[in-house]
Assembly symmetry: C2
Homo-oligomer: 673 residues x 2
């Protein structure tokens, strides 16, 4: 590239873009780690986008009707940090830039949404940003349909690299966005032809333009260093009803000795080469130094949206107070008071009726109560609507012809669904939930982990949660998936025993503001074990005494979900033999761990032998409760799975794998000696 | 469809295909569960493929040079069971068909490779089969280049449905296959426009033909019920150098009342409708009844390959004895004796040199010794070759112009890589290993689980295995991933402490025949802790006493990987204070659990306090060893992670999260009281 020609053609643009490039070089050099090349290659695109199109007010980074900017190629984090600092974001100061990648800095190695307002999502694991963006765009469409375009009318912009597009989740995102005709989604593809191992060509020769077109995207191809072309492409993208991909031919590490090489992808820290690059840019300034005129020009961009924001606030004030209240409540992540009373009424009814019901079916009934009250829920399933029981009658299907629809047929795309749900939760004002079989936690994992890391309350409805699914066999039978989610920090795994606990779990999931929930639900029918109505949400304590020993307490059975009724059956048999047995239902280990020690001791006193019952592997957190968290507490055993399952009717499998009341009784007696 | 016209046009074909359809209907009805529609829709394609093209000998289903047939749409398992039974596979008898989906039957809900020879891979989780197939086709190319086409020359055929193609992993597979020009890979797309939730159109409007073409596939579009068109398409597909996708327009549940509906996808058990379908087929036979002439015709197809197999055996006998030996050894999954001695020599050298080395770098050195000896290894990385240290000098890169290359640049496709590796392992004669960052276990999970379920020894090289990766931050720092893999049945998770243990772990991974290995390797440098050479592979015991207490044993420190040297440092400090401390290195919990109780007791005797040290969550199997597997054994504590990590230099993170020798010392003293 002839940098001088670029500079002379548009010196003001050049100075602004170069500010990004040099901040990147300086920050990466100071940290002695990071990724220099991507921000340097996409600085022109980002500059034009922020200067001419992105609707934002740097001083108010959470203004609800802002355009969303998502850096899917999250390793290029200095791009977003530079933009935030230059435009005057209150959180990303020059000190933060200087502390890039250091402990406690908001400028983490990859952008973390929870460190600074203005960072819309956490990216780095490739493909997540573009898949989140589908959720952002869905959220915008749904809210625009609900509140009107005077209140909600914004774009979702994404910068994605070759890595994002090679990850399979991108195909799920592209396919879904194309089908749903998310016209306000605009993706810039950083077409620099470089990955870590070498040129893209080493591993891929996919024609990305044709690939996007095959999924109904509008595609524009431009020189990613030509400001006029970038501007024209964005203008064109805004006119189409389909999502747009702008293929930006770019040079990674533009102007550096490592330009157009995979070395340029990484940390460019050589001081001499750094100086040479700055010289080639015509940038005589010191490290981290941005000339006042350039900073002012960028700050003007950051302030450009203030009027639009003020105008928006006026328009917002004009909608009905009810709508305003609903909007503000949903954005705050609050639930209406009515929800609690409705859940309580449902619990009371269930305790009386005592239905025998699969918890997935119970979940559908709970959603039937929840969805009309919580207008911000968006449900869905990865092509298992009837099996996951996620669709309630009132929702309507979200499609181009029905933007008010609140149910999404995600297709056979568990990963894309989970990422899109995260995007909706991050967008604000939406409570997404979506279902698949629990074994397919595996497919959704990258996004489930990010929900936990990002502190967002996405709800993952995982049905068919054990060998209880029966004939579909071991590929479809989770045995380690409770362990997987329980091992993940900041995740609440609920495994309700009946419809009462299912209602309680949903209440907790829907009132959470910063912790995702995994609902582990059965395929098979279960009796109601909570036959005595309690107003209090007992699931909130994580575990509780469901039924105490009748005589002297010799054994404690701890069970979750479908195995609680087995524990109750075992208790009856044990009591009949004079062995006093307590049954503890433990629908959420994480919440139980969060109770004070006195409560935990009350539920699980030392002394009696303990048997855990769960149709899953013991490694899923059991030893802490069985062996005693303080050590030396009890003799203990476990009734569960230690291998993969098998294909057969559910009842036979429970017998075959020895997860029965009789096996529990034997284990207790063996421990009592 | 006019079934009568179809039948009259080609009565012999019709009878054979109808045998598949009616066996499917009868088996699903008997099981009262399963998926009828897919086998009914694809019976014509499968019949033509098996009759006219598939090179196989039903009596010898493991003949190495057979064509591979992969049912990616695994829910349609009755298709493959019907084909195996009809052609005379010795394992799938009519009794097995009658016992479809019952406990102990080889005819599980989804096809399981380990239940019957002839089932090439386990499918059901969608997209896996097509991604496995890429590995099968790579294996064939590599072996053909190595042994010559007189010995290796076969096709890989796949039937994939809309579900497979919507899953993101299919894009990874398609992109990789297109780039690698796997011309002997032929995929039939069952284009029936139906998914569980409804028509495909509800969730996807991707033009699959254009999508495949964009990734350099040859595409042919046919009527999937026209035998002549099917035959012509396969003939054409064989002539191209590129992978071929044959789009087969088909009718799910052909001829049944549920034809072309999503009901047709599931279990069609209504007896009256079943009879009506049979009548429409012109099939007056009873349940499970196949007329002798039809069965004979199918058995002739099954026997068709016997001559080809005999001819192959003659050709095989003509290659050098050395090559024959190598071929047979690799197919048997055996390793040359030389491997053990080479590993021992390396260990001895390392014990003397005592390098300070990251275990990922140690791994590269081990591979440098292994790869020249084990000519069947195929290495690779998901675009992190330099970071995963998976590429050794001698391998060469596998590309269309270098089929002898043994290293694959998989691109940014962790899931596709893992599935392709599984395919290579299943193909036989290949030992695949591949790398990514351990946090991206999440991306590869569906295939990692299947490796364990399928009992194949795929090796997953997971580097950057803790907060020790430093500045890239929490998105890239695994904390729960050891737990995830340890919770998975039939998986060996190795976390070596230094180069000696790394060599031992590789030896175990490479000599395994039916258990996959996860190698958890550091980014950061580690001292050699195994400074005294032992010929014996100590890692094979899972855990062992690395250094015993000098005085009275008051504490046992149990650590893995990078934390073993921290344990050694803590021991030195504790001993200096007169607290006798044993250090147990535990590179593989699963192998330790498999030792006899006497050994486990010897390593972890009751009495002394125990502290576990691992820069990961405690839930990853620790409580069993800390609290005492027999209960009431020891007071215990854990030094590790209970949250996500952070972005900072590695050393600072270890301090910040309290994973240090000093913290360990304090914990021991606290427990000693």
């Amino acid at each position: 590239m002839d940098l001088t020609a670029l500079r002379k053609a548009n010196p003001e643009h050049w100075a602004k873009a170069t500010a990004i490039r040099t901040l990147t070089l300086d920050a990466v050099a100071a940290a002695n780690s990071g990724h220099s090349g991507m921000p340097m290659g996409m600085a022109d695109v980002a500059t034009v986008l922020f200067e001419k199109h992105l609707k934002f007010d740097a001083a108010n980074p959470t203004w609800p009707d802002r355009d969303r900017f998502i850096l899917s190629a999250g390793h290029g984090s200095m791009l977003i940090y530079s933009l935030l600092y230059l435009t005057g974001n209150p959180h990303i100061t020059l000190d933060e830039i200087r502390n890039f990648r250091q402990l406690g800095a908001k400028t983490a190695g990859h952008p973390e949404n929870f460190l600074a307002e203005g960072i819309e999502t956490t990216t780095g694991p490739l493909g997540q940003g573009i898949a989140n963006a589908v959720g952002f765009a869905i959220a915008e469409e749904v809210q625009r349909a609900h509140y009107g375009k005077k209140v909600v009318d914004h774009y979702t912009y994404v910068i994605a690299g070759d890595g994002c597009l090679m990850e399979g989740v991108s195909q799920e995102a592209i396919g879904l966005a194309g089908r749903l005709e998310l016209g306000k989604l605009i993706v810039f593809w950083d077409d620099n032809n470089i990955t870590i191992d070498g040129t893209v060509d080493m591993a891929d020769r996919t024609d990305q333009v044709e690939r996007f077109r095959a999924s109904n995207w509008h595609v524009i191809e431009i020189d990613g260093h030509d400001p006029a072309a970038i501007d024209a492409a964005i203008i064109e993208a805004k006119t189409t009803d389909m999502p747009t991909m702008i293929a930006c031919e770019s040079h990674i590490a533009l102007g550096h000795a490592a330009q157009d090489t995979s070395k340029g992808h990484g940390a460019l820290t050589d001081q001499q080469q750094l100086e040479a690059a700055k010289e080639a840019y015509g940038w005589p300034h010191g490290a981290f130094e941005i000339p006042a005129d350039v900073k002012s020009a960028w700050e003007a961009i950051g302030a450009r949206g203030a009027d639009a924001r003020a105008a928006w606030e006026e328009r917002f004030a004009q909608i009905s107070e009810r709508k305003q209240g609903e909007f503000n409540r949903a954005y705050a992540g609050d639930t209406p008071k009515k929800l609690t009373s409705a859940i309580r009424a449902l619990k009371k009814q269930v305790s009386e009726d005592q239905p025998k019901l699969a918890t997935r079916a119970a979940s559908e009934k709970v959603l039937g109560v929840v969805n009309p009250i919580l207008t911000e829920t968006i449900g869905g399933s990865a092509d298992l609507s009837g099996s996951n029981n996620t669709k309630t009658a009132d929702l309507g299907v979200f499609l181009p012809e029905n933007r008010k629809g609140r149910y999404i047929h995600y297709g056979i795309r568990e990963h894309g669904m989970a990422s899109a749900m995260n995007g909706m939760a991050l967008h604000g004002g939406i409570r997404p939930y979506g279902g698949t079989f629990m074994a397919f936690t595996d497919y959704a994992r990258p996004a489930m982990r990010l929900a936990a890391l990002m502190k967002i309350p996405t709800v993952f409805v995982m049905t068919h949660d054990s060998i209880g699914l029966g004939e579909d066999g071991p590929t479809h039978q989770p045995v380690e998936h409770l362990a997987i989610s329980r091992a993940t920090p900041n995740t609440h795994v609920f495994r309700p025993a009946d419809m009462v606990e299912t209602a309680e779990a949903w209440e907790l999931a829907l009132t959470s503001k910063d912790t995702p929930a995994v609902l582990s639900l059965t395929r098979q029918g279960l009796p109601t074990v909570r036959s005595e109505h309690k107003t209090k949400n007992l699931t909130a304590q994580g575990a509780y005494v469901l039924a105490d020993a009748e005589g002297k307490r010799q054994a404690i059975l701890i069970a979750t979900g479908s195995e609680v009724s087995i524990a109750m059956e075992a208790k009856a048999k044990l009591e009949a033999e004079g062995i006093g047995t307590r049954v503890v239902s433990m629908p959420c280990m994480e919440l139980f761990a969060a109770q004070d020690e006195a409560y935990r001791k009350r539920v699980l006193p030392g002394g009696p032998v303990r048997v855990g019952i769960e149709a899953a592997v013991r490694l899923g957190g059991w030893d802490r409760w069985l062996l005693g968290e303080r050590g030396r507490e009890a003799k203990a055993g476990f009734i569960g799975m230690s291998s993969f399952g098998a294909s057969a009717p559910a009842g036979e499998l429970y017998e075959h794998f020895g997860i029965t009341a009789d096996a529990t009784v034997s284990k207790v007696k063996e421990l009592l000696g």
